[in-house]
Structures are given as C-alpha cells and as structure tokens.
Symmetry: C2
Subunit: 372 residues, 2 copies
DNA sequence: CTGAAAGCGCTTACAG
DNA sequence: CTGAAAGCGCTTACAG
C-alpha cells in the first residue's frame, strides 16, 4: 500500500509544481491528444509523467467534461428494472459503451417520476439516452430535444415522432412459430396475450408489446388460413406500472388464461403460443396440474428466451429476442450521433428474431374431442 | 414542443442577464439550500425563477460537482454482469440510491481490466464503490484508499482488510436446508459444489462462494451426525472468469456431477443440495432423464432463488438470498460514509437468508438398494 | 517549446 | 439584499 497520506486529491497544479513546469504543460502532456497540437520535448514529458505517477495524480473527469461540454456518459432509462430482458439490454449496452469509451448510468423511472428523471439526464449533461419506457414519451422527447440529447428507444412497440427506435422483429418470430407448429400438424392454436389493455382500458398504451404480438398472431393465422375461434385468445394480467415499477407475475391469472383455453367449448387447442416466456412457463405448470403432458398432449411456445426457458424441464421452445444485440446497437447509434449535428428525425431498426426449438413443442396429438 | 431554437445550453449567466440580476443572485435562488444563508426577497426570487423557466435553464450538475468535490454518484463494479443475482443487487442499490439522492453508474469489469476500471472510478470522482468481484481486490483497495473513496463489497466470501463487506448468511441457509430435509427423513444427502477450484487449482480463490457453501454443508452434516460418504460431494464446472466475464452454465458438467451422485456405489442420496439454483435445475433435468421423479424419488434443493426457481415445474425449493436488500444496504452504508471522515476499517454485515419450500423437496423415499 | 491568461459553469465568502 | 471577485480543476488559443 502507498504509505503517503493524502489529504486531498492531487490536482494538476500540484503536479506542475512538483515537475517545475506550468499547468499548461502538464495538461499538454497528460491530455488525450498529446502531441497533436504542440510537442513537448521528451525530457519535460518524462518529468511530468513521473511527477504525476509519484503523486498518484488522477485527472478529474468532471472538470474535463465541464470544459469540453462532453461527458461521454449515456443514460439508460428503465421503467421495470426487475425485468430480465431489460437487464440483458443493459449488458449489451454496457459492453458496447466500454468498447467505445463511454460509460453507462442507470436511471430507474416509474411513471410519476418521468419528468424528474429526464430533467436529471440533462442536468447530468448526458451524451445520449437509451429509453426502455412504456407509455407516453412526450416528456422525454421534449426535454431531450430541447437539450439536444439524442435518444434511442428500445423495445418500443410503435413508431414515434423523434429519435431512433430499436425493436425486435416480432412478426418474423410469430411467423417462425406458426411455421414450426403447422409443420408439426397443429391447426388449433391458441394465444395468451398480455392483459395490460384490460387493466388500463382508459390509458390504452398502444406500445403494449403483448397486444402487438397478439395482433401479429391474428394476422399470421389468417394469412395461413388457420381458424381462430372466438375465445382462442385469452389474457393474463401483468402489472406493469405502479410506484415500484415492478413486474409482478400474477400466476393465478396466467392459470385462468390457460384454463380458459384448455376448457374451450370447441375443444382445447393443440398448441398455445404465449406473449412471453413467463406466461408460457406458468401455463405449462397449469397444464401439468391438469394432467396434460407437454409436448405430447399439448405444445407450448414462449417469447423472449429468458434464462428460465433453458433451465426448466422440459426446456421451453421460444422466439429469441436479441436483447443484448439491441443494447449494443442502441449505444452504437447514440455514439454515432454524439459527434455529429443533433438531428431528432425518427428512424427505426428492426432486429431479427430467431426461433429456438427446445422440448415443449412437438407433433400435434389426435384430439378425441375435436369437432373437425 | 418548445418552438424556440436553442443553439447551446442556457447557462446561469443567461438567466442572470434575462432577470436583470447577477449570477450570484441566480445561484442563491436556484441552489439546493436556498435561503439557508442568504435571503432573497420574493420579488427577485420570482423574477429569477421565471427567467429560468422561460429559458428552460438546467443547472450543470457536473460544474456543481467540480465545485463541491462531491458527485453523489456511486459506482457498481460487477465482474459478471450477466448473472441474475448481481442484477438483483443492482436493483436494490438503484432504489436506495434514488431515495437518498444518489445516482448509480455501472462498470463491468473483467479481470484484466480491473486496474483500468478502478482508476476510472477515481477519475470520475465517484462518491463510493460497490464491488461484486471475484478474486483479489488488492488493486481496488489500493486505489480507493488512496483516493479516499469508500467501498463496500457484496457477496464476498471471505473477510478482507478494508471496507464494508455485505454477505449473506449461508450457514443459516444450509442449516434451514438440513433441518427441512432431515425433518422429511432424509439422511443420505449429497451436495453438488462449484467446480471453480478444479478449474483454477493455482489461483485458488478463497472467496469462491460454491466452495464456501460446500464447507458449510460438511460442517452442518457433521454437526447433525449425518454420514457423508466419500463421493457424496461432486462438482459442476462453472466458468467464472475470462475476457467476457460470462457465466456459462455448462450443462454437461452439471449432468455428470448429478450422475455421479445417482450412481454412487453406496446407493444414491435421497436428497441433493446444490450450491446454486442453476445447478439444481440442471440436476433436475438429469434426474428426469434417468426416470426419477422429483420429489417422490429424490429431493432437490438450490441456493439463491433466481426467477427460474419459481417458474419451473416443479418449482424449486431453495435458500433465498436477499440480493436486493443487500444492494440497498450497500448504498446505505456508502452514503453514510460519504459525509463523514474516510475510514477504511473493515466491517462485515451478515444478511440473513430464508428457506423457501416449494415443490422439489419432500419426504425421503424408502431406498431399496440402500445398505442401511 | 512553454507559460500567462481567459474561460467552462458553477458557488461562496466578502464587501457594500 | 445583491454584486464583484476568487476559486473548483481543467483546457486551449495566444504570446513570447
């Protein structure tokens, strides 16, 4: 351990004094683009370097940022920090930020605090913002545009007026799922959708990803000429808002949604597609409880590929959303905008999804009570 | 949207000019502790406030920090950002930081970059550091002590020379597990431990949490007078280090570890305790593959309570580590130190664990091939 | 090559 | 009550 007791942080002036040169010289030697503008003779440079090392000098990144007006710090605004995919986005973002010399700050935002949070972003002089936010982003864009901070939204269902939007190609995913299931002979396919719109019939969030997938499912079923009887789409209940911005998985509602499908008057579907993995896993529990084997009696498919999908038994067949890649892309887009002129014009990146065949999907059984 | 085109960020001088007062006055009105030292008459105050609002003024938090020397920004150093529990720690830390007016920065650190990362922490003038790091933390403490930055380590197996250490009370957890299992009549209990020491026999990390739990298990078994035949402790293989700091779950090694237990010459254990949930879940897959029912034929217990534990079927009985609470506590400890004199003296907080009885553990079966 | 000076945006004694 | 001045730690034209 260094035995020198340091009272306060060593500054550039201290180093200058020790090396017997001016602050300017120290700055030139220690600056990023050393030698680009001015050249310092090696003797002086060494003296400065050594003094800095001896004193354990650490440049003050904040002071630098104040001077340059650039923080190279990017904010990640998340409304549901507990949700695994949003963490995966962050992991990707973190990696990319590291590589590009940026740092990442996490700001958790529940709906009531959105205004404060975006304000905080500009006070922090963030170089860019990644937003994973349900609901209206008007406040965010107002503030960010005013402060000329580029923003990219991730996992956002609908196009927006400003900024870069990075979203997964769920239509592709749904297509894969239906190809897979029809290949296995399934024709009676149910869907468990997100219950969000029912919870909040007034403030309907058009960006609700569960409902978006439900729409896609309906379209793709129709496109394939597959029947979709009334009641073949049910809903679980997910709390997405609230002070603590928690994702509560209400198992009883997923259970009810599954049951409605299993006891459908026209006979149960031979396969159920769920708007996300958590729901699918809960649905499987319910199927087991009813004595149904997965996938022999019924196939189940999820969406996202959360870690549990791989760990469960049987492991879940699911659409893989490339969360980390989306996070990486978000950073790349942002960084690219940082050094160019601010331009809030909207663009969209559709990131391809893939389908992972694991063990919860298989050949359609012959249903005895089928009316076909 | 605000229709005024802003060229650059509005500064305090701009507001002062608009309000017809000096910068000092603006500062006084807008500062945190307004009115504590000086009192500004309401008329002036209103003028300033209105000017600031009209112009969309946002104080520069960086400049403030340079001045005050305090950033109220805490860094979270994680070596395996992909691992769910470390994300949970962050969620807790984030909440607590918000409440206390601090912000959180995430720094991912793979082993080779540790030096750079800790240096970055001091250059950023972080107010504190939360470290979730395997291996030696010498570099970290050298740097942090020099810069007088308080650090708390989380989920660190062994006591250290400096800083606050927050760790879960695994002894308690193991105790619960064995109480539970013996209550159900189990006496032949196996353990799957972390394979880390085997991977890295040279740089043995004494903080390896899997091995620590194994030790605890051995002690508690002995304390209860339960036999632990040679070979009743096996190991999976977890890659914890490497450039990308990934936690790779090598299912084949967990499989092998399970198999070794199932085919033990003295008969298989009636219960297996695993050093973490992922391993337990993988072990269950293997048991199923061998035609064993869980928990009728064999009980399985994990450690951590990751989200998959609840989602799987049967849901996993496990020791719950209070990750979020640990993150919260880390922040609280740090914040408390920020405004007091720097003191690196070591302290330890042992956070209690609990046991969650779910469906993978039950009464011990009568083993036919048992030699008892 | 190197230093004195001005400046980044803020705050805080210190006069008036 | 309010402003001029000095200062936080840094950088960057600008002289010499």
């Amino acid at each position: 351990m260094n035995r020198v007791i340091i009272e306060a942080m060593i500054t550039m002036s201290d180093v200058a004094r020790r090396a017997g040169v001016s602050r300017s010289t120290v700055s030139h030697v220690l600056s990023e683009h050393q030698g680009e503008t001015v050249r310092i003779p090696d003797a002086t440079r060494q003296r400065v370097l050594e003094a800095a090392r001896e004193m354990g000098y650490r440049p003050n990144a904040l002071a630098r940022s104040v001077r340059s007006g650039k923080t190279r710090m990017i904010g990640y605004l998340v409304d549901e920090p507990r949700y695994e995919p949003y963490w995966n986005i962050m992991v990707g973002a973190l990696e990319a930020a590291d590589e590009l010399g940026f740092t990442l700050k996490i700001l958790s935002v529940s709906h009531p605090t959105l205004a404060d949070r975006v304000r905080q972003c500009t006070e922090l002089r963030l170089s860019g913002i990644i937003a994973r936010l349900a609901g209206s982003k008007r406040l965010l864009f107002e503030e960010a545009n005013h402060a000329q901070i580029p923003v990219v939204t991730v996992d956002e269902g609908i196009p927006q007026l400003f900024g870069t939007r990075i979203t997964s190609d769920d239509a592709l995913g749904i297509g894969y799922v239906l190809d897979h299931l029809t290949h296995f002979g399934h024709r009676k396919i149910g869907f468990i959708s997100s219950g969000f719109p029912r919870l909040n019939p007034v403030r309907k969030d058009p960006g609700d990803i569960g409902t978006a997938r439900e729409e896609l499912f309906r379209q793709e079923m129709a496109a394939r000429g597959l029947p979709l009887p009334e009641g073949y789409v049910t809903h679980d209940t997910v709390m997405v808002f609230g002070c603590k911005a928690e994702v509560t998985i209400d198992s009883s509602s997923a259970q009810a949604a599954t049951n409605a499908l299993l006891h459908h008057p026209q006979g149960r579907p031979t396969a159920i597609v769920c708007w996300r993995d958590e729901t699918a896993l809960l649905a499987i529990q319910e199927c087991h409880r009813q004595g149904l084997r997965v996938p022999e009696d019924i196939s189940l498919v999820g969406f996202s590929d959360i870690s549990a999908a791989r760990l469960c038994d049987p492991p879940l067949s699911t659409v893989k959303t490339p969360w980390e890649a989306m996070g990486r892309l978000a950073i790349q887009e942002l960084v690219q905008r940082v050094d160019s002129n601010f331009d809030p014009a909207p663009t969209t990146h559709l990131v391809p999804t893939t389908f992972i065949t694991r063990a919860t999907s298989g050949p359609a059984p012959r249903i005895k009570n089928s009316r076909r």
